[in-house]
Structure formats: C-alpha cells, structure tokens
C-alpha cells in the first residue's frame, strides 16, 4: 500500500511540475513574435483549404424570420462620433455619398437613394462574432459584385478595402478588406436595412458590409468608401484591417 501512496504522491508532483513547466514555457513563447508568426502560418492552410472547398461559391445558410434573434447584439463602435458623421446623422444621411475609388475605370459617388436602386439582395443570415456569440438578422443591401462591375474594376485589382467613419482606437479609422472571391459572392452586400428597417446607428448606419462566410469583425460598419487595391501592406498597419493590425487573422472564415 505504501508504494501505491508513493506513486499517488509522485503522480500529483509530476503532473503539477510538468503542468507548471508547460505553462511557463507556453507563456514565454506565446509572447515571442517569431513563434506567433509561425503559429499564424496555419491561417494560410485554413484559407487555402476553405477556398478550395468553396470553389463552387456555396451560400451561407439562410434562415427564416422565425429564426431571428430577439435582440441583435450591438458590438464594436456603437457611434462613430465626430463632426462629419454627426452632420450626416443630423440630416438622416441625405448628404451621404459612398465613394468607390482606387483601381476602377469609373470612380463612383453614390447617394443612399442611388444605392437602393442598384441590384439588391435580402438575406436572413447568422452573424458570428470572433468572441463566440452569434445573432441572426435579416439584411438588405446592394450587391457588391455588380457595383464593382459598374465602376469598372481594373485587371490588377486584387482586394476591396472598406474605409469606415469610426475610430475604435484614436487615430486609426476602422477598415477592412476582402479578396475578389468574396467580393463577387452573391451574398456579399453593402447592407442598408436590418430586419426591414434602415440600419440603426449602432449597427453601422447608413451602410455596412455583409460578407457572410466570415466572422463579425469583417462586417465593417459605417462604410464611407470602397477602394479597389492591388496590395494591402501600404494601408494603415498593413495587415488588411483594424483587428488584423492587432493580431487577428485576415482570413476570418474560421
């Protein structure tokens, strides 16, 4: 029996010692930038395998009105603030113009009325926050693909960047970017309505991106301009988005 006790004591000792070592080791290398970049390389594997599987451009699951979240959680910027946005808001966004710029042959400046007249789509989809929660809402908006075609996307354009009115961190306007594969997906829209009513300020009025096969931080709110570019490394932190510049994956399909 004594040997049994000894091995029990040994078990607890060995287990806690190795656990402590594991923790200390993890923390040390978790904060080493080179190791973090090494781990992040798995992102490329996820991105490429999902793109391969999605080659037929399948749609994200669409739900019915019975599935709508009773309350669609507000998250991120609830109000961009600032004089320019406040002025737009005061006038119910009558003076709002979405700028379509960058690598396009015909830059556009579109009012909300003009956006509402474009090819549109309504979809009840699930919004998945990177934190883990989900909310289901009905979105209506202008399809991004036809809008880009109208602007005449140049051959060297590779990404679409969305510049926003809000600054989650001082001096860093929110921005996001997607590749053309997602930009031309039928469910990728610039939404102006949520659950049948114009977007509330907290949900990104007057216009937010819906790119349904990616996480919440890709769904840029308060979109002011859409820019076609051939590279992302010369925009803000160079990682293709506000949260991407702060360590999150550019490809947020998982």
């Amino acid at each position: 029996m004594s040997r049994l006790l000894l091995s029990r004591r040994g078990l607890i000792g060995t287990a806690s010692a190795s656990f402590g070592l594991l923790l200390a080791g993890c923390d040390r290398i978790a904060h080493a930038p080179s190791f973090d970049r090494f781990l992040e390389s798995a992102q490329g594997l996820s991105y490429r395998s999902q793109r391969l599987l999605e080659s037929g451009q399948p749609l994200a699951r669409e739900f019915t009105r019975a599935d709508l979240s009773p309350v669609f959680k507000l998250n991120g910027s609830i109000n961009p603030g600032g004089a320019a946005y406040a002025a737009l808001m005061a006038n119910h966004f009558a003076d709002y113009r979405l700028q379509v710029t960058g690598l396009v042959s015909q830059p556009l400046s579109l009012s909300l009325a003009q956006l509402r007249a474009l090819a549109a789509r309504t979809q009840i989809t699930r919004h998945d926050c990177v934190e883990g929660w989900s909310a289901i809402g009905q979105w209506s908006g202008a399809k991004l693909g036809p809008l880009l075609q109208m602007a005449g996307l140049k051959r060297n354009a590779r990404f679409i960047v969305f510049h926003c009115a809000d600054e989650l961190a001082a001096g860093s306007p929110y921005y996001e970017s997607i590749d053309l594969f997602d930009a031309f997906h039928p469910q990728t829209i610039l939404a102006y309505d949520l659950n049948g009513a114009p977007l509330a300020i907290g949900h990104g009025a007057p216009l937010r991106l819906r790119v349904e096969r990616q996480l919440g931080y890709k769904q840029a709110k308060f979109v002011m301009s859409v820019e076609a570019v051939d590279r992302l490394d010369n925009i803000q932190g160079g990682k293709g988005g506000f949260w991407e510049d702060r360590g999150y994956e550019w490809y947020a399909g998982i």
């Binding site: 040994g10 078990l11 781990l39 979240s69 959680k73 909310a135 949260w243 360590g247």
Partner: protein, 295 residues
Amino acid sequence: MSEATLPDAAGPPAPKVAPPVSARPAREVIYRHSLIVRLTHWINVLAISLLIMSGAQIFNAHPALYWGQYGADADKPVIELGARNTPHGLQGVTQVGDLRFNTTGVLGVSGPPGQQEIRGFPGWLTVPSNRDLATGRHWHFFFAWLFVINGLIYLLFGLLSGHFVRDVAPARDQIGPRHILGSIWDHIRLRHPTGAEAKRYNILQKLAYIAMIFVVLPLMIGTGLTMSPGFDSVAPWLLTLFGGRQSARTIHFICANLIVLFVLVHVVEVFLAGAVNEVRSMITGRYVVPKGHAS
C-alpha cells in the same frame, strides 16, 4: 492489496532481448506499442494539451454557451461562467441550466488575492495566461491542424495495420456482462491484470479508447468545423446535425471536458499500473508483463 499485484515499476531495466525459451524467464518483455502508435500518441499529448488551453482562452472571450442557431447576451445561456458584485467583492458564479454555484477563485472570478478579476477560466489554465484572444486563436488553429493530420495518420494506420481489430476491439471473451462487471470490480479495487491478461487492454480501457477515438474526438472536429462560417457554407448539413452553431459550440465544450476527464483517468491509471513500465512502453514500445499469482 498484495505486493504481487502491483507492477514492478522500480525494478532493474528490461533486458534488451527477450530471454531464451529454455530458461524460465524471470521477466517477460513484450513489444506492446508500434512506432506509429507511440509517435501519434505523444504528438496528441502536445496537441490536445495546447488545444484545451487555447480553447479555454477562446472560451473566455464569451464565457457563456447556448443551445440553437444563435446566442448572445440577451439570450439565455445553458452554461455560463459569470460573475456578480457582492458586498464582499466579486463573486464567480458558474451556472449550469438553472443551477448556480459559487466558484470564486477558479471559475468566473480568479487571480491573485486583491487582484481578482472577472474571467471565465483562470489564467493558469489558458495559453497565453493573460487575456489574448488573437494569440489564443493562432495556437488553437495551428494545433487543430496538427491534431487532425496526426489523427488521420493514426486512423489510417489503425485500420490498415490491424491495430484496431487486434488491440482496440473487444475480444469475444471480453464481451458480456460477467466479464465487464468483473473488470469494473477490479477497477474499483485498483487491481490491474497480470500475466497473459496484462498483454491486452482490459475491457473498460478498450471501451474508453473506442469512445475517444471514434466518438468524442470526431465530435470535437465536427463541432469545431461547424463553428466556422466558411465551412458551414460548404457543409450546411453540419448545422442540421448539431442543431446550430451555438449548439455545436456547447457540444465542443462538453467534449473538451470529457477529454480532460479521460486524460485524468488515463494518467491516474498509468501511475496505478506502474508509471515507469507504462511510460517506457509508450516511448520504447517494450513492456514488462506484470507477474500474477498464477504465472
């Protein structure tokens, strides 16, 4: 418990080659675990440990679980590691269904005395130990890929080499209430098989391995993929199968707990059965068969 039933863990090292048949062997050494099983086992130890810890980090970003397609602050959680203010300071409240438990110090609220903060799982359980969802996700997806590739190699090997049929599937004589009850009774008394019976896995061990290999770990991967909005478009049937992304997240969490439970029992059994002999057999493959009363 008699000394003879305890495996000889501290004895002299095993002979390099099995002794000749003519001399009655003092110690019988068998080749128990093949190279692929040993390699995939240790890669799994690394991957699963870090998946659990980075998973706890990710969970802490929203320490509540729901059932159904959606779930957020306004919806009723099925499990929550929450916190509330009391006159005596912060209190960690773990909620399971309608039951509430005070888990201050470990779940909901934890940290050094005086610096306790609201946090689902404590820092000593997460990687990294501070709150860092972005880094936690890098770890989780890296080791998820390692776990999946490692698991596929093991499954393929298990099927093709006969490992599953030979070592994991219950033998004919192990099936039946009499044998199973006997094994349960042995486990309760912490008695481990000796002699010929120690050369194969016991029935409870086999059932536990089967549950992990063919149920819990595949469920882990399936529910993990269901949480991916990209993969959902490729395999929307996963949402139907698990009853929604939030249900899948809840099942993922429950299975993670089952894995932790399995690992705890597994490690305790290794120590009870003779840590040196057991661990050595998983490193070198060689296992000293514990001698019993009859042999």
